[in-house]
């Protein structure tokens, strides 16, 4: 069982120092999780630390491949509002 980081990661470094099992490492184009080392913080903390500090919605997936922080959960921006704003910008 292991969490994973996907391409929406912005390399902000927040997760790397809080991982209790040193499973997270800096890589290109984004940080990665060593699946052999990742314990999902079981036995150390109630919540997986990387997902608890990550500011980017959708960047960290659980073992089932689901986003731990789904769209709207961290920023408070309703996903449709974000889509609207970005569509507006691209139209220019």
């Amino acid at each position: 069982m292991s969490l994973s980081i996907i391409e929406s990661c912005v390399n902000c470094f927040a997760c790397e120092p809080v991982c209790p099992s040193e499973a997270i490492y800096e890589a290109k184009p984004h940080f990665l999780i060593n699946s052999k080392k990742c314990t999902e913080c079981e036995g150390d903390f109630a919540d997986p630390q990387c997902a608890t500090i990550c500011p980017i919605e959708g960047a960290i997936l659980n073992a089932l491949g689901e986003a731990i922080n789904p769209p709207g959960s961290l920023t408070g921006i309703p996903p449709e509002k974000m889509a609207e704003a970005m569509a507006e910008l691209q139209a220019h």
Binding site: C12, A14, P55, L74, T75, I77, K81, M86, L89
Partner: protein, 495 residues
């Protein structure tokens, strides 16, 4: 949890409020500070309005991680054309940061201050931040070290900060009320948990206030930054100002919110507006009764290099620095000579200003806002068309008072994809809204006509003159010409 800060009874204004020199118009914003503090800030461009015309600063981006989320920040955003906090083009390791700092200090001898301000929170990146400070305090002892923090991890870091010879800290404090805080901070990372809402804001506020008290007790200078967010904390910031002043912060910097949809921040996307220049000035004025206000902040990039208002970061990218061979011992000797010369010049100028201050005739006239094009040194020395920013002064029967600076370019004026097609000239004129005069060294015919049409009088007659003297000369001319009497004011009010 008790929040002692919120339970504090405000002292009566008459006793605690205005210390001499910090109220209303004053020539020197540092007038009321003790000699010891003046000594510490006199060559710090961010802390002394006077010094920012002469001395330069730089930031190194070594602290990318953050332990809180603010609604005005988006950590994935980076735009090379932009100048605003949180934006950087390259992240540095502590070793690279040290190398860059010494290269800049050797090449720009006016550089006096190295700050670590993010992106992210420097104290959430303790190892990287302190490694940088430790090496620099050893190898480049003539550079002042500064750090800027959101305050969450501050109380635990104070001891370490004091060890590394850091005598200035900036804390961003946007509120002292968790109700307000919950509208600014969606979450914090605290004791290995993500905490949201009012509870999160309460913890953050408590840590900020505790950190502030601890720093002051250690004799470390504290500046407080606040972001003014209309409808969220604008009514609340005068209270913040009063409290932080009472606790010993020596300078308050109220900055306008920067929020555009393309920044992808909560405020940007949700259409939260920033304050107008008038609103910002009104709030700064209402806070200044209680404390020394900073008005010359340029809200610079987290990797800015050079004088405030300019950015020479492009000259010092890592690949360029790799090729530089720096003899820092030699640089320090040179820096010392240059710093002494600048300080002598500043003192001379201050003395000559005192000597030449002429008593203003008794006037019963309204104040006037004037814009000045300058590249520094306190003189009018910029062509209108070359100005990237204007300094705004208020002239009144009390004298000339520096109010703010306004950038001429919108935050992202890159190309046609940004907003409506508006000429640069139209944009500049809009930037000067509220001003009645613009002083510059020279100005072309076309902008002259358009400025006049917009009700702003261009003036190129005071090129290379002292800004404040020129502003007052023009003001007196306006008064003599009867442009400032009550009827005119009435007309303006009715317009």
């Amino acid at each position: 949890m008790e929040l002692p800060v919120l339970n504090d009874q405000p002292e009566s204004k008459g006793e605690s409020g205005c210390s001499a020199g910090s109220c209303g118009s004053t020539d020197d914003q540092l007038d009321h500070l003790s000699d010891e503090i003046r000594e510490k800030v006199q060559n710090h461009p961010c802390y002394s309005e006077d010094a920012h015309h002469y001395f330069a600063r730089m930031h190194v981006a070594v602290a990318p991680a953050c332990n809180i989320q603010c609604h005005y920040c988006n950590r994935k955003y980076d735009c090379a054309n932009e100048s605003r906090p949180g934006v950087v083009s390259e992240l540095l390791s502590p070793q690279q940061a040290v190398k860059k700092t010494m290269a800049v200090a050797a090449n720009i001898p006016q550089m006096t201050v190295l700050g670590i301000a993010g992106p992210g929170d420097p104290l959430a990146n303790l190892e990287r931040t302190f490694e940088t400070f430790q090496t620099l305090s050893r190898d480049a002892p003539d550079i002042k070290l500064c750090v800027s923090t959101n305050g969450l991890a501050l109380p635990d870091a104070v001891e370490e900060l004091a060890k590394h010879n850091i005598d200035h800290v900036t804390i961003t404090i946007n509120c002292v009320d968790p109700e307000v805080g919950a509208k600014i901070y969606p979450w914090i990372y605290w004791n290995n948990r993500r905490i949201k809402g009012k509870k999160a804001a309460k913890i953050l506020i408590k840590q900020q206030q505790k950190g502030l008290e601890m720093l002051v007790a250690k004799g470390i200078l504290v500046k407080v930054n606040s972001v003014m967010i209309p409808g969220v904390n604008d009514q609340h910031l005068a209270e913040v100002s009063r409290i932080v002043k009472e606790k010993g912060a020596f300078l308050h910097n109220v900055m306008p919110l920067i929020a555009e949809a393309e920044h992808g921040t909560f405020y940007g996307v949700m259409g939260q507006r920033g304050p107008t220049a008038d609103e910002l000035q009104a709030l700064q004025d209402s806070c200044s009764g209680d404390m020394n206000m900073m008005r010359h902040c340029r809200q610079c990039r987290a990797d800015a290099v050079g004088m405030l208002g300019e950015d020479r970061g492009d000259e010092f990218t890592m690949d360029k620095i790799e090729d530089m061979d720096i003899d820092y011992q030699a640089a320090m000797v040179k820096r010392k000579v240059i710093h002494q010369a600048i300080e002598a010049e500043m003192n001379e100028k201050r003395a000559s200003k005192e000597e030449h201050t002429i008593a203003l005739p008794k006037l019963n006239t309204r104040p006037v806002l004037m814009a000045v094009a300058t590249s520094g040194q306190g003189v009018i020395n910029m062509h209108f068309g070359h100005a990237k920013e204007f300094l705004i002064y208020e002239a009144s029967s009390e004298g000339a008072r520096f109010i703010s600076h306004r950038k001429t370019e919108l935050y992202c004026s890159g190309d046609d994809s940004c907003g409506e097609a508006e000429t640069a000239l139209e944009k500049n004129i809009r930037t000067l809204e509220g001003c009645e005069v613009v002083l510059c060294s020279k100005i072309g015919f076309e902008p002259w006509e358009q400025l006049e049409a917009a009700g702003i009088q261009p003036n190129g007659e005071h090129a290379m003159e002292d800004i404040e003297a020129a502003v007052m000369a023009v003001y007196l001319e306006m008064a003599e010409a009867g442009k400032l009497d009550e009827t005119t004011q009435q007309k303006r009010a009715n317009a």
